[in-house]
C-alpha cells in the first residue's frame, strides 16, 4: 500500500518526515517560517502580495474621500478657494517635508535589513517615528488653532469672521503640553537608553522609541507655534472682549460678521458669501436642495437680523419635515430635537478637510504602532537577509501614508 501511494503521489513524505528536496537552505525549520508554508521564499511572496492587496484596499478607501473632494470642488470651486486660505501653507509644507524625510529613512531601513545591518534598521526606524510624531505635533497645533477660531467640521463650524472670544482656548494649553512632552519624552528616551545599555535591548529600544515619539510630538508643537501664533494670542493681542463674546455662543452657523482683517492668518477671505448665502438663500426660498445651495453664491448679505434668522429656522423645520420623505410609511417621530437649518459654505470645505486629514492622521498613528513593533523585532535581532518581510511591509505601508499626504497637501493647502 505504501508504495502504491508513492507511485501516485510525487510528494509522499508524511508530514514531519525529513525532506530530501534539498531546500533546507531555504529556511526549512527557520524560526520565522510558519508551519503552513513550504519555505521562506513562499512565505515572503505571500506576505508581500498580502501587503500590496492591503495597500490597494487602502487606496480605494481613500479614493472615496478624494471622489467626494472632487465632486464638491467641482460644484463649488469658489468656496474651496476662499476657505483654504485658513490653512497655513508653511505648516503644510513643513509636514510634507517631514513625511518625505521619514519615507526616505524607512526605505533606507529596508535596505539595511536586506544587508543584515541591524543597527541601521533601528536608527532609521526610530528616526521615522520621530518624524511621524513631529507631524502629529504640527497637526495638533493646526487643529487646535482651527478649533479656537471656531472652525470645526460640519455643525462644529462656528466661524464668524472675527476672533472667537472665549474663556478657554486649546491654544493656551499647547505650550504646556509641548514642554511636558519634551521633558517626559527626553526622560523616557534616557530610561530606554539605560535599559538598552544594560542588556535589556528590546525593552530599551521600545521605551526609547516611545520616548522619541513623545519628544518629537512636543517639538512639533513648538515648531508649529513658531510659525503660527495661536488664536488665543491673536485675540488677546487685539485686546477685545465685548462684541465678539456673543458671537461665540451663537448657534452652529453663527451670525455673519464682516470679517475684520488682521494679520495674514485670519483672512477676510472667509468671505461672508460663503458663510451666509448658503444659510439665507435656500431657506428664504423654503427649498433645500443642492442646486439651491449652489445658486446661493450671489451678493454677500451684510448682516442678517436676528429675527430673520429665526424665521429661517422655522422654515427650515418645515422643509426638513418634508425633505426626508421618500420612505412611504416614514414615521413622524423622526424629527431631531434640534432644528436643523439649511446652510452651505466654508463649513463644507472644512468638513472634508477634517475628515480627510483625520483619517490620514489615524493612519499615521497606526503606522507609529507598526513601526514600534518593527523596532522591537529588530532589537530582538529577528531579521536577517533571508527574513525581513515585516520591515518591508511596514515600509510599504508607510510610503502609502506618505503618498496620501503628498496628494492632500496640494489639494487642501494650495488651491487656486
Amino acid at each position: 500500500m505504501a508504495d502504491a501511494a508513492t507511485l501516485d503521489a510525487p510528494e509522499t513524505e508524511p508530514h514531519g518526515a525529513g525532506h530530501d528536496h534539498g531546500h533546507d537552505d531555504h529556511g526549512h525549520g527557520h524560526p520565522s517560517l510558519a508551519h503552513h508554508f513550504e519555505d521562506l521564499e513562499q512565505q515572503f511572496q505571500a506576505g508581500k502580495l498580502g501587503m500590496w492587496l492591503f495597500l490597494a484596499q487602502e487606496v480605494l478607501f481613500f479614493s472615496g474621500l478624494f471622489a467626494a473632494y472632487t465632486v464638491y470642488r467641482w460644484h463649488y470651486p469658489e468656496v474651496f478657494v476662499d476657505a483654504h486660505h485658513h490653512l497655513n501653507k508653511t505648516l503644510g509644507a513643513v509636514n510634507t517635508i517631514v513625511l518625505l524625510a521619514s519615507s526616505l529613512a524607512i526605505a533606507w531601513g529596508v535596505r539595511a535589513a536586506m544587508r543584515n545591518d541591524r543597527r541601521t534598521i533601528l536608527n532609521t526606524h526610530v528616526f521615522t517615528l520621530g518624524c511621524a510624531a513631529l507631524f502629529l505635533g504640527v497637526k495638533a497645533i493646526e487643529y487646535t488653532h482651527k478649533w479656537d477660531e471656531g472652525i470645526g467640521a460640519g455643525n462644529f463650524y462656528k466661524f464668524t469672521g472675527g476672533h472667537v472670544s472665549a474663556d478657554w482656548y486649546f491654544g493656551d494649553y499647547m505650550p504646556g503640553i509641548a514642554i511636558w512632552s519634551i521633558v517626559i519624552g527626553a526622560l523616557v528616551c534616557w530610561g530606554g537608553a539605560i535599559w538598552a545599555s544594560n542588556a535589556k535591548v528590546v525593552k530599551g529600544w521600545v521605551t526609547g522609541s516611545i520616548g522619541v515619539c513623545i519628544l518629537s510630538f512636543g517639538l512639533g508643537i513648538v515648531l508649529a507655534k513658531c510659525v503660527m501664533p495661536t488664536e488665543a494670542e491673536l485675540a488677546r493681542a487685539e485686546g477685545h472682549g465685548g462684541p465678539h463674546a456673543a458671537s461665540h455662543d451663537a448657534p452652529a452657523t453663527g451670525k455673519p460678521m464682516p470679517a475684520p482683517a488682521h494679520g495674514e492668518l485670519v483672512q477676510t477671505s472667509m468671505s461672508a458669501e460663503t458663510t451666509t448665502d448658503g444659510q439665507t438663500a435656500p431657506a428664504a426660498e423654503g427649498v433645500a436642495t443642492t442646486e439651491d445651495a449652489a445658486k446661493a453664491d450671489q451678493p454677500p448679505s451684510e448682516v442678517v437680523n436676528p429675527e430673520g434668522a429665526n424665521v429661517e429656522i422655522a422654515k427650515a423645520e418645515v422643509v426638513q419635515g418634508e425633505a426626508p420623505g421618500g420612505e412611504p410609511a416614514a414615521s413622524e417621530t423622526l424629527g431631531q430635537a434640534a432644528p436643523r437649518e439649511p446652510r452651505f459654505g466654508a463649513a463644507n470645505f472644512f468638513s472634508i478637510y477634517f475628515v480627510m486629514t483625520g483619517v490620514h492622521a489615524v493612519h499615521i498613528i497606526a503606522g507609529i504602532i507598526a513601526i514600534t513593533w518593527v523596532v522591537a523585532k529588530a532589537a530582538a535581532d529577528e531579521f536577517s537577509a533571508e527574513y525581513f518581510l515585516p520591515v518591508e511591509n511596514v515600509g510599504l505601508y508607510w510610503h502609502l501614508v506618505d503618498l496620501v499626504w503628498i496628494y492632500l497637501f496640494p489639494l487642501m493647502y494650495l488651491i487656486h
Partner: protein, 594 residues
C-alpha cells in the same frame, strides 16, 4: 462520462488487487481534540484555533444563525402583507407601518451583510479552498481568525441596533432619510463597516492563498472552478468593500456632525451617496453570486459523471464578471437624476455583464448533456439554481433596459428579481454546497431521500413566494409599503403561503442534516466520486488536511473512480500499467534549488 464497461473493469481490477486502490490514511478529525483534553482546553482550542476548517465551521454556525434571524424578520413582513391594511405589527396604523419599515430593513440588512456575503466564501470557502488547492492552510491563518471575530463584532452591533431603536432606512441606508431618522443608524452602519473589514480580510487571504500557496503540480488551469469563482469574488471583496467602508464613515460623520456631504439641507449631495453605495453594492451582488456559481460548477460535473464543459470559459467568465461588475452601478440610479447619457451608458454596460453569466449557464447545460445524471440532493439544488438563476438574470436584463426600468424601479418586480438571484440562486447554491460537502465536513451521511424531499419543498416554496411578485411588480405594486390595494391581495397571499412552504422545506433540510450528525452513517472518503483534492483525504479531514500530499490530476476526470461496495464510497484506482507509464511525465520534476 464513464462507460459501464470501464467501471466494470475497474471494479474487477480492485477486487483482484486491492492495493490498486489509492491509499488514503485515516486520522483524527479536525473537529476533535487529542484524548485527555480538558473541557476548557477544548473550548480554547476552538476560540483560538488557526485551522481554516474550524474557522469555517464557526462561520457556518454564525451565518446560519443570521439566516434564521433574517428569516424570522421576513416572516413578519410576509404576514403583515397577508392583507392590505397594516394591522399586524402594531395597534395603530402608524405603529404598524413603523414596525413594518423596521422589519423589512432589518431583514434586508441582516440577510445581506451578516448572511449572504460571508455565507459561501467565509464558511464553505474557508473550509474547502485550501483543501481543493492542496494547501495546508490559508496564507494568513491569524488574519482569518481575526476576520471571524470581526464578523462577530459586526453581528453584535446589529444586535445592539435591534435592542435600541432599530433601523428603518432600508438596507441601502439612503440619504437624506438615513441622516434624519431617529433609529440607530450609527450602530448599524458601524456594524456594516466592521463586517466590511471582515470581508476584506477573507478576500485578501484567499487571493494570496491562491496566488502563492498552490503546491507543485497545481497549475492555474488545474484548479477546480470553485477556486476560480472564489478567487474572482475575493478580488471584488478587496477592491469594492473599502469604498463602502469610507461611505459609511462619511454617513456616520454626517449624522454625528452634519458635515454636509450627503445631506442636501447642509449643502450635500444625496445622489453622491447612491453612487458610492452602488459602487460597492453592485460588485457586492457578484460577491454573492460568484461563489454560488462556483459551487454549481463543482456539483454539476460530479453528479453528471462527466468532465465540465468549457472549463476555461467558466474560469475566465468569473474574472470577467468580477471586472465588468465594477462598471454598471449606475443601473440602480436610472431614476435618481442621473444624466441621460450616463443612464444610456450604464444600461448598455449592464447588458455586457450578462454575457459571462450566460456563458456559465450554457456550459453547465452542455456538461449535463448526455451525462449520466444522478439526482442526489446537491444536484437537485443545482438544477433549481439553473432554473432560478436564469429567471433572475433575465429579469435583471429587463431592469437593465433603461426604458423598462423607469416603470419597474422600486416595484415588486425588483424585489422578485433580486430574490431570484440572491435567494433562488446564492442560497440554493449554498444549500447545494452544504449537501455536497456535508460528508466531508462532518464525516456523516444524511438521509438522502428526506433531503431530496426537503429540496423539493424549498423549490416549490421559493417559486410560490417570489414568482407572484413579478406579476405584482408589473401591475404597479411598489416595494416597501405595508398597505396595498385590494386587487393585489390574492398575489400577496400566494406569496405569503409560499413563505411557509419554503420555511418548512428549510426547516426540514436543517433537521435532516442535524439529525445525521448524531445518527448518521459514517461517511466514506469519497461518497460521490468527485475528483477534486478535498475528497482525497479522510472524512472528516485531519488538522493537516492531507497526511499524504495527493497527486493533482484533472479535477473533472472521473475515469479512475469507481464505487467500491466495501468502502461504501468511491475509490480512486491506480492507473494500470499502460497509464502509469504516462504518469511520471505529469509529475513535476523534483524541484531544483530555486
Amino acid at each position: 462520462m464513464i462507460s459501464q464497461s470501464r467501471e466494470h473493469s475497474l471494479l474487477e481490477a480492485i477486487t483482484a488487487d486491492p492495493s490498486r486502490k489509492v491509499y488514503i490514511p485515516q486520522g483524527r478529525s479536525y473537529l476533535q481534540n487529542p484524548p485527555g483534553t480538558t473541557f476548557w482546553q477544548g473550548v480554547a482550542s476552538w476560540v483560538f484555533t488557526l485551522d481554516h476548517k474550524r474557522i469555517g465551521v464557526m462561520y457556518l454556525c454564525g451565518v446560519m444563525f443570521s439566516f434564521l434571524l433574517g428569516g424570522l424578520f421576513a416572516g413578519a413582513v410576509r404576514m403583515e402583507l397577508w392583507n392590505g391594511t397594516p394591522d399586524l405589527l402594531g395597534d395603530t396604523l402608524q405603529t404598524a407601518q413603523d414596525n413594518y419599515n423596521q422589519m423589512f430593513t432589518l431583514h434586508g440588512a441582516v440577510m445581506t451583510f451578516l448572511f449572504i456575503i460571508p455565507s459561501i466564501p467565509a464558511a464553505l470557502g474557508n473550509i474547502f479552498l485550501p483543501m481543493m488547492l492542496g494547501a495546508k492552510d490559508v496564507a494568513f491563518p491569524r488574519m482569518n481568525l481575526a476576520s471571524f471575530y470581526l464578523w462577530c463584532s459586526g453581528a453584535i452591533f446589529f444586535i445592539a441596533t435591534l435592542l435600541t431603536s432599530g433601523l428603518d432606512t432600508g438596507w441601502t441606508f439612503y440619504t437624506p432619510y438615513s441622516t434624519t431618522t431617529s433609529t440607530s443608524v450609527i450602530l448599524a452602519t458601524m456594524g456594516v463597516f466592521i463586517l466590511g473589514f471582515s470581508s476584506i480580510f477573507t478576500g485578501l487571504n484567499f487571493v494570496v492563498t491562491v496566488n502563492t500557496m498552490r503546491p507543485k503540480g497545481m497549475t492555474w488551469f488545474k484548479m477546480p472552478l470553485f477556486l476560480w469563482g472564489i478567487y474572482a469574488t475575493a478580488i471584488i471583496q478587496v477592491l469594492a468593500t473599502p469604498v463602502l467602508a469610507i461611505t459609511l464613515v462619511l454617513l456616520m460623520c454626517e449624522r454625528l456632525m452634519g458635515i454636509g456631504i450627503f445631506d442636501p439641507l447642509l449643502g450635500g449631495d444625496p445622489v453622491l451617496y447612491q453612487h458610492f453605495f452602488w459602487f460597492y453594492s453592485h460588485p457586492a451582488v457578484y460577491i454573492m453570486i460568484l461563489p454560488g456559481m462556483a459551487i454549481i460548477s463543482e456539483v454539476i460535473p460530479v453528479y453528471s459523471r462527466k468532465h465540465i464543459f468549457g472549463y476555461t470559459f467558466i474560469a475566465y467568465s468569473s474574472i470577467a464578471i468580477a471586472l465588468l461588475g465594477f462598471l454598471v452601478w449606475g443601473h440602480h440610479m436610472f431614476t435618481s437624476t442621473e444624466s441621460k447619457l450616463a443612464a444610456v451608458i450604464f444600461s448598455a454596460l449592464t447588458f455586457t455583464v450578462s454575457i459571462p453569466s450566460a456563458i456559465k449557464v450554457f456550459n453547465w447545460l452542455a456538461t449535463m448533456y448526455k451525462g449520466s445524471i444522478h439526482l442526489n440532493t446537491a444536484m437537485l439544488y443545482a438544477l433549481a439554481f439553473i432554473i432560478q438563476f436564469t429567471i433572475g438574470g433575465l429579469t435583471g436584463l429587463f431592469l437593465g433596459a433603461l426604458a423598462v426600468d423607469v416603470h419597474l424601479h422600486d416595484t415588486y418586480f425588483v424585489v422578485a428579481h433580486f430574490h431570484y438571484v440572491m435567494m433562488g440562486s446564492t442560497l440554493i447554491a449554498f444549500l447545494a454546497g452544504i449537501h455536497h460537502w456535508w460528508p466531508k465536513m462532518f464525516g456523516k451521511m444524511y438521509n438522502e431521500r428526506l433531503a431530496q424531499i426537503a429540496s423539493g419543498l424549498v423549490f416549490i416554496g421559493f417559486n410560490l413566494t417570489f414568482f407572484p411578485q413579478f406579476i405584482l411588480g408589473t401591475q404597479g405594486m411598489p416595494r416597501r409599503y405595508a398597505a396595498y390595494k385590494p386587487e393585489f391581495q390574492f398575489l400577496h397571499q400566494l406569496s405569503t403561503s409560499g413563505y411557509f412552504v419554503l420555511g418548512a422545506g428549510l426547516v426540514m433540510a436543517a433537521a435532516v442534516l442535524i439529525y445525521s450528525l448524531f445518527r448518521g452513517k459514517k461517511a466514506p472518503n469519497n461518497p460521490w466520486g468527485a475528483a477534486t483534492l478535498e475528497w482525497k483525504c479522510c472524512s472528516p479531514p485531519t488538522t493537516a488536511n492531507f497526511e499524504i500530499q495527493p497527486w493533482t490530476g484533472s479535477p473533472y476526470v472521473y475515469d479512475d473512480f469507481v464505487f467500491d461496495p466495501d468502502e461504501g464510497g468511491y475509490v480512486e484506482v491506480l492507473p494500470d500499467l499502460h497509464r502509469s507509464a504516462a504518469v511520471p511525465a505529469e509529475r513535476p520534476a523534483v524541484p531544483a534549488t530555486h
